[in-house]
């Protein structure tokens, strides 16, 4: 259920929503197709879930398509995903063949829509091969990279680059994530929906219900990391940090996340986490269903401190979510976490489990700083990382890609 744009006025102000409507009016009827690889699970699907209806709300003829593939394809694209984030991966010509075959198969189904669109936005590497199979495309094609590809595994990047350089433009969440490509490269940080089930205010009964459901002690501090079970999120490092804190403060830890349909590696990581947590009743490892948005919302609100101790990270929407709930975030000093977590202002950036433990102890011994930082964090998100800003920049991007002249100002 998508909230009408008008309801965001109470959060961001009427003028901000009116601005979106004005931009949308100028793009009225523009045919925009978003393509990604999964309809649920993961940050991209969450973004498209609200973005497409809101684009339609302001007048853009937007739609969302998902490519289909077998488990072998998603194993391959998971390897691509890992390789783009710097992990050494084995990749054979046969793997690329499968990657292309699946993209071609999807292109057969989607070609009429994609070739007819004014703007096609391809999200992440999985569907990037579609462009090669749409020779009669009439619109602009934009590749939207949601992950940090600043230090990719080079053999993989050299091949993937040949797919991406044919696009008219690319978009990254941060400038630091980009690789040189022979077309305009834009920077659009992602955002959260403050009125979604995952972020809207919850009543105390809902919070205590979740607290009871997972046996959390209301009288002891709670630290929470929400993220899929992925090695780059360093869940084992989080447990190590917890154990260092636990020596002096009786803290509780929740590590919660869902799997994603395109993430076969998650199961193995979850097993490692369960093994590391075995025997400790104060570590709650929760594999939540895809639609457990309200539970995640409640866990973040129940937390005293949010952790996101990633060693590699795209933008880190869970950081934004935690900040929106008025919590300080202790995050890994990587990727988009740096854009959001400002030391002593909205939380702390750390590099090791020891660093995380130190900051957790600091905050638990200075409880007043928890609420102060949380308040600053929430206002920072309100001004910069809500979907209204994101939607505005996407609409602006459509203007810019339709008019590819290198002008500083564009009157519409």
């Amino acid at each position: 259920m998508i909230t009408p744009l008008a309801q965001y006025e109470a959060i961001v102000g009427a003028s901000t929503v009116a601005q979106l409507r004005r931009l949308g009016k100028k793009l009225s009827g523009l045919k925009v197709v978003h393509v990604n690889s999964t309809r649920e699970g993961g940050g991209v699907a969450e973004i498209l879930e609200w973005m497409v209806p809101h684009m339609r709300d302001v007048g853009v003829n937007a739609s969302w398509e998902v490519i289909h593939g077998d488990p072998m394809f998603f194993d391959i694209t998971k390897s691509i995903h890992n390789g783009l984030q710097g992990k050494s991966v084995d990749f054979s010509p046969k793997d690329w063949r499968i990657y292309q075959d699946v993209n071609e198969m999807n292109a057969v189904r989607l070609r009429p829509l994609l070739e007819d669109a004014d703007i096609v936005v391809i999200h992440d590497p999985q569907p990037a091969g579609l462009l090669n199979f749409c020779p009669n495309r009439k619109g602009r094609w934009i590749w939207r990279g949601h992950i940090d590809i600043s230090s990719p595994f080079r053999p993989l990047w050299k091949v993937l680059r040949t797919f991406l350089e044919k696009y008219d433009a690319s978009v990254f969440s941060m400038a630091e994530f980009a690789q040189p490509l022979p077309h305009p490269q834009f920077v659009v940080p992602p955002s959260i929906d403050p009125l979604s089930e995952k972020n809207r205010d919850l009543d105390p009964a809902a919070l205590s219900g979740v607290r009871s459901q997972f046996g959390l002690d209301p009288d002891r501090p709670l630290i929470v990391q929400i993220s899929r079970f992925d090695r780059f999120k360093d869940p084992i490092g989080v447990i190590k940090a917890y154990r260092l804190v636990r020596k002096v403060i009786p803290v509780q830890l929740v590590l919660a996340g869902g799997g994603a349909a395109d993430d076969p590696e998650g199961k193995a990581v979850l097993e490692d986490v369960l093994e590391a947590a075995a025997g400790d009743l104060d570590i709650h490892v929760l594999l939540l269903p895809m639609d457990a948005h309200k539970t995640i919302n409640a866990l973040q609100r129940l937390a005293d401190i949010i952790l996101q101790k990633s060693t590699r990270e795209g933008f880190g929407l869970t950081v934004t979510e935690g900040m929106w709930k008025g919590k300080p975030v202790i995050g890994g000093d990587v990727g988009g976490i740096r854009l959001q977590v400002v030391n002593y202002q909205t939380g702390f950036l750390v590099n090791t489990p020891e660093g995380a433990a130190h900051r957790i102890r600091f905050l638990l011994h200075h409880r007043e700083r928890i609420s102060e930082m949380g308040e600053v964090a929430k206002e920072f998100v309100r001004g910069n990382f809500l979907l209204t800003r994101h939607l505005r920049e996407c609409l602006t991007l459509f203007f810019a890609t339709r008019n590819m002249k290198k002008e500083r100002t564009l009157h519409v």
Binding site: S151, P184, V342, Q345, G383, F385, E393, T396, L410
Partner: protein
């Protein structure tokens, strides 16, 4: 008298195409070579960008020097530069280069940053559009400003300084069309030390400066 046409703008950031700088000498070389829009972005468009609003670092070069190069001296020298005090971007560039050259002459080794902390040279496209809203009477100006988006405030105040008539914001320019009647309001606007305000604070200060008191 002509009505005031309320415009709005939205910023879209893009990579400039320049390689990132890993140390102060590279920063110097890139600043010397980059386009005017790149300098303008890192000094002036920072207020419209999703970054933490830190009044210590109003420009990206100062922030980078402090946060990543850990050079407090350079950060302070760059941080005080008011780009709007210069008639042209080239004058601004010359001052920045002068400061960097001075620093390079003082240090015993070229300050550098770790991989991942490079300075990324960006620029932006500003998409400008008419809101359809019109202000006919100067008395309407302050209440209208309070309702404007950040984009409108930026466009009519900061961006306007770069458009002819150079150095003049749109609000003051419009009021000056009424002769001397609103000279006091214009002087109040000119007195705002705006470079150290975020857009939210600037909106409040502008509305305050342009409020016309009702006569008793």
């Amino acid at each position: 008298m002509k009505t005031f046409e309320v415009k709005d703008c939205a910023l879209l950031m893009r990579m400039s195409g320049l390689p990132p700088a890993m140390n102060l000498r590279e920063l110097r070389d890139r600043v010397a070579a980059c386009g005017e829009n790149v300098l303008y972005h890192h000094f002036c468009e920072t207020t419209l960008r999703p970054t933490f609003d830190d009044p210590d670092y109003r420009n990206d070069f100062a922030a980078w020097a402090r946060l990543h190069m850990r050079d407090r001296v350079l950060a302070e020298r760059l941080g005080i530069i008011n780009p709007y005090a210069f008639d042209t971007i080239e004058q601004l560039r010359a001052v920045v280069l002068d400061i960097i050259d001075d620093r390079l002459g003082e240090v015993t080794m070229v300050p550098w940053v770790r991989s991942g902390n490079e300075f990324q040279f960006m620029e932006a496209i500003t998409v400008i559009f008419d809101t359809g809203e019109r202000i006919r009477n100067p008395r309407e100006l302050a209440p209208a400003i309070l309702k404007m988006t950040d984009g409108s405030i930026y466009y009519h105040f900061m961006e306007a300084l770069r458009r002819p008539p150079l150095g003049k914001d749109d609000f003051s320019f419009w009021l000056s069309g009424f002769g001397d009647e609103y000279g006091q309001l214009i002087r109040r606007v000119e007195a705002i030390d705006f470079y150290f305000y975020g857009l939210v604070d600037l909106r409040r200060e502008l509305a305050l400066a342009l409020t016309i008191e009702e006569e008793a």
